[in-house]
């Protein structure tokens, strides 16, 4: 992971993806594969940004739409729309982005902290930003995208409901 490059000169590779005219970088070591967009199976009671699950060679993998995750609206799924399969903490999930564009070497000392800029993007999913020439690339914190606390909170809520029912 990038944290281990404390000398500031080592480079981490990022896969850059396009989303609503912005460019985002995903740590390439977290990227498992890139697939063309295919319809997924919807899951009930899922947050809106979780589109559903797909079959990745026998594994059931949830897919979330990065636009919806960031509170943007989803337009058409076009020919360039892709699903990037990401591994975080041995869990797999897919994120749907408008297009993949590039692989960048980003040196650690070129990563700047994210200013609180009130963009459409919630800054908690970003771990920094960097610029390549004129382009600004927002570096995504993949760990935070499919927030485990979401799942835990939901489970806790369900259990609470069970308990209430038991008492009733």
């Amino acid at each position: 992971m990038s944290q281990s490059f404390s000398d500031g000169t080592a480079a981490t590779q990022y896969l850059t993806v396009n989303l609503a005219d912005e460019e985002y970088g995903i740590d390439i070591l977290a990227v498992r594969e890139i697939r063309g967009w295919t319809p997924v199976t919807r899951i009930p009671q899922a947050p809106g940004y979780v589109l559903g699950v797909l079959n990745l060679r026998g594994a059931i993998v949830p897919v979330l739409d990065l636009r919806l995750r960031f509170g943007l609206t989803r337009e058409e799924y076009s020919g360039t729309t892709v699903t990037v399969i990401i591994t975080v903490a041995s869990r797999l999930f897919g994120i749907v982005v408008d297009a993949v564009s590039d692989v960048l070497d980003v040196e650690q000392n070129h990563v700047r902290p994210v200013p609180d800029m009130g963009t459409a993007v919630d800054t908690e999913y970003l771990k920094g930003l960097t610029s390549i020439g004129e382009r600004m690339v927002l570096l995504l914190d993949a760990d935070k995208l499919l927030q485990p606390q979401d799942a835990q909170m939901l489970d806790a809520a369900l259990n609470a409901v069970d308990d209430v029912k038991a008492v009733a």
Partner: protein, 657 residues
């Protein structure tokens, strides 16, 4: 020569020894019930193997400890000591202690501790000598004899085991002065002589102060491969060669026990019978042949050969199905491996509580998926404990009630439909309705017991934190019980039902799926989506007319099915499916059953029946209520599998809200 590290064999030694300990325990319990000498031999052999292994693999503490137990067993085996409850108890504690030693050996801790030292002293004292006393002081009455006559008749196959009679004789010679006389009566004619077999027998006179143990020790490794009799010199005249080890019977018993236990000990491996493997290899062979046959069509396809193609495809389908069944069969283990722990548990509990209980186990050979098997143990232990602690009464009370003083606890496993049913039946007092009601009122689970059926009251014991035991014992009654049992079983896709009659006893019925990995299901269309409904939970599907549905206050819908009214669950509402049929008469209602009740599931229609390989949603996502997993359809897309019990729960919650 390179040195071979023995450490690589440790794991095997541990596994075998633990199996041996389980076999010992089972045999000890059977012995307690008045078993025969076979059992003593079995126990002795198990202890002996452990001792030998421990010495070989560098666990001297364990070897020394087991040696004491073995000495005691030797006395039992030779009939010098009668088996009684105290001895069995002592040996059972020895088994426990050895298990502890193996645990410590696996984590690399010192094997001996205060407990094992004390037990070792106790064993040694029981044998009749203290640990430090020289071996010569044994209480063996025959020690004083100045010599022995040994009849040694090796079985023909003894040489194949790598045992050389000459070496044994040399060892004997070290004990005293030998007079050896070869017995040639079994020697066949020259043309029938197989030089790899042992045909000779020996009558050996040993003059010296050797103990019987010392002589037996010489023949230790050929036990079971020879007929051996050791008689004091004076009694020679009447000496008959007796087969001291039932070579065939004892190992067979042990193997059965060991096989049954295999599933419960190791977490990561399954021991599979050779026949199952051979069956698989045959099948794969068939598949390869079919594949080769179908492969011809890739080169040149002649329409005239379409019949052959169809034949090949049908064969492929058949083989695939059989292969699937066989592979699933590998995961199937007999439930006996779980039942095995109960004789000991029941014995310990009854002794502690002063109750008399007869344990009956039926259907131990019923096979269950390994995953299910691993998770069903704890719930079963809990139910058995409850039955003994709360269910069965004290002997006096039973006598007063006109029942046999000895209570009966029956564990029974059998197939019913696509499921395995495990019943825990006791003939105890039955559930105490008043106590349950009082407890439920106290806990605020119910407002009043009026009008509650006995079934409803019985169901209350599955509520969290429910325990009616007046006093909390260390056995059960900690209040974390039946709800956990039910949750564990439900997690496995099974259900628990309870039947109880005051004074006559209680029956818990656990219904479990045969396997978790593949289910039979019906695919149901809801809007544009497809869900799998497990076949086992489907009772019937009906098409309802609009006027057959009654709306009740609060927006619920009921329909009449046979002689009961069932709520309708509109799947498209529960799961928010777009484009689904709204009118009852347009779609189909499938009546599904869970342990919590029946409901009618409203769907658009059924697509067909199929087997579904169950995949976990939780592996990458999380639990979804009303969904038990996912499966992959023939076109590669994902379909979700409906968790009927969860859906019924969701429905009743909506009703409550």
């Amino acid at each position: 020569m390179s040195t071979v590290s023995l450490a690589q064999f440790h794991q095997v030694f541990f596994e075998e020894s633990l199996e041996g300990l389980d076999a010992m325990e089972a045999a000890l319990l059977a012995l307690d019930q008045g078993g025969d000498a076979e059992l003593v031999h079995l126990i002795f052999r198990a202890a002996h193997s452990i001792k030998g292994g421990a010495a070989t693999f560098g666990f001297p503490d364990m070897a020394a400890f087991t040696h004491e137990a073995e000495s005691l067993l030797d006395e039992l085996r030779d009939g010098r000591r009668a088996t009684d409850g105290a001895i069995v108890e002592l040996l059972l504690r020895t088994v426990d202690c050895l298990r502890g030693m193996f645990d410590r050996a696996q984590t690399g801790q010192p094997l001996a501790n205060a407990q094992s030292d004390e037990l070792r002293q106790q064993l040694a004292a029981t044998v009749g000598r203290s640990v430090v006393a020289p071996a010569g002081k044994t209480i063996d009455k025959s020690t004083a004899q100045s010599g022995w006559v040994i009849q040694f008749q090796p079985h023909p196959g003894m040489l194949a085991g790598g045992n050389d009679p000459l070496r044994l004789l040399r060892e004997l010679a070290e004990l005293g002065q030998l007079t050896v006389e070869a017995q040639l009566d079994r020697l066949p004619a020259l043309d029938a002589l197989d030089p790899s077999e042992c045909h000779l027998g020996w009558r050996i006179e040993l003059i010296g102060a050797a103990t019987r143990e010392a002589i037996v020790a010489v023949f230790e490794w050929v036990e079971g491969e020879c007929d051996l009799s050791i008689e004091p010199l004076a009694q020679v005249a009447t000496a008959q060669p007796s087969n001291i080890v039932e070579a065939v019977a004892a190992p067979a018993v042990q193997n059965v026990a060991a096989k049954a236990v295999a599933g419960s000990n190791d977490a990561g491996s399954v021991r599979v019978g050779i026949d199952k493997i051979d069956g698989l290899i045959d099948l794969v062979g068939e598949l390869v042949i079919t594949q080769a046959m179908l492969d011809q069509f890739r080169e040149e396809f002649d329409p005239s050969r379409i019949a052959l193609l169809q034949h090949g495809l049908a064969q492929l389908a058949r083989h695939t199905r059989t292969l699937q069944e066989s592979v699933m069969g590998i995961r199937m283990l007999p439930i006996g491996s779980v039942f095995n722990r109960f004789p000991r548990l029941v014995r310990d509990l009854t002794q502690k509580l002063g109750k008399l209980v007869k344990l009956e186990m039926i259907g131990e050979h019923t096979e269950l998926d390994k995953t299910v098997l691993e998770k069903i143990g704890d719930p079963l232990v809990h139910l058995v404990r409850n039955a003994i602690d709360h269910g069965l009464e004290m002997p006096e009370k039973r006598r007063a009630a006109g029942k046999n003083e000895t209570g009966t606890l029956r564990l029974e496993a059998f197939h019913r439909g696509g499921s395995i049913v495990v019943e825990i039946v006791d003939d105890g007092a039955g559930l105490n309705r008043d106590a349950i009601v009082a407890k439920a009122l106290q806990k605020g689970l119910i407002q009043s017991a009026d009008g509650l059926s006995d079934e409803t009251v019985n169901e209350l014991i599955f509520q969290p934190g429910f325990s009616t035991a007046a006093t909390t014992t260390d056995l059960s009654g900690r209040g974390v019980g039946m709800d956990v049992v039910r949750r564990n079983v439900t997690d496995l896709g099974g259900s628990v039902a309870i039947k109880s009659r005051p004074g006559a006893g209680t029956t818990f019925t656990i219904t479990l799926p045969l396997t978790l990995a593949i289910i039979d299901g019906l695919s149901a269309a809801v809007g544009e989506e497809c869900y799998i409904v497990p076949l086992v939970s489907i009772v019937e599907s009906v098409q309802l007319r609009a006027d057959a549905v009654r709306s009740v206050v609060g927006g619920g819908e009921l329909f009449r099915f046979r002689d009961e009214y069932l709520p309708i669950v509109r799947l498209h509402e529960q799961f928010g499916c777009p484009g689904a049929k709204q009118q009852i008469e347009d779609g189909l209602v499938i009546v599904v059953e869970a342990d919590t009740g029946r409901v009618g599931l409203f769907i658009d229609g059924l697509i067909g029946q199929q087997q579904a390989v169950v995949k976990s949603l939780e592996a990458n996502y999380r639990r979804v209520e009303g969904i038990s997993g996912a499966t992959i359809l023939a076109d590669g897309s994902v379909a979700l599998i409906i968790d009927v019990a969860g859906l019924v729960r969701m429905q009743s919650r909506r009703k409550a809200a």
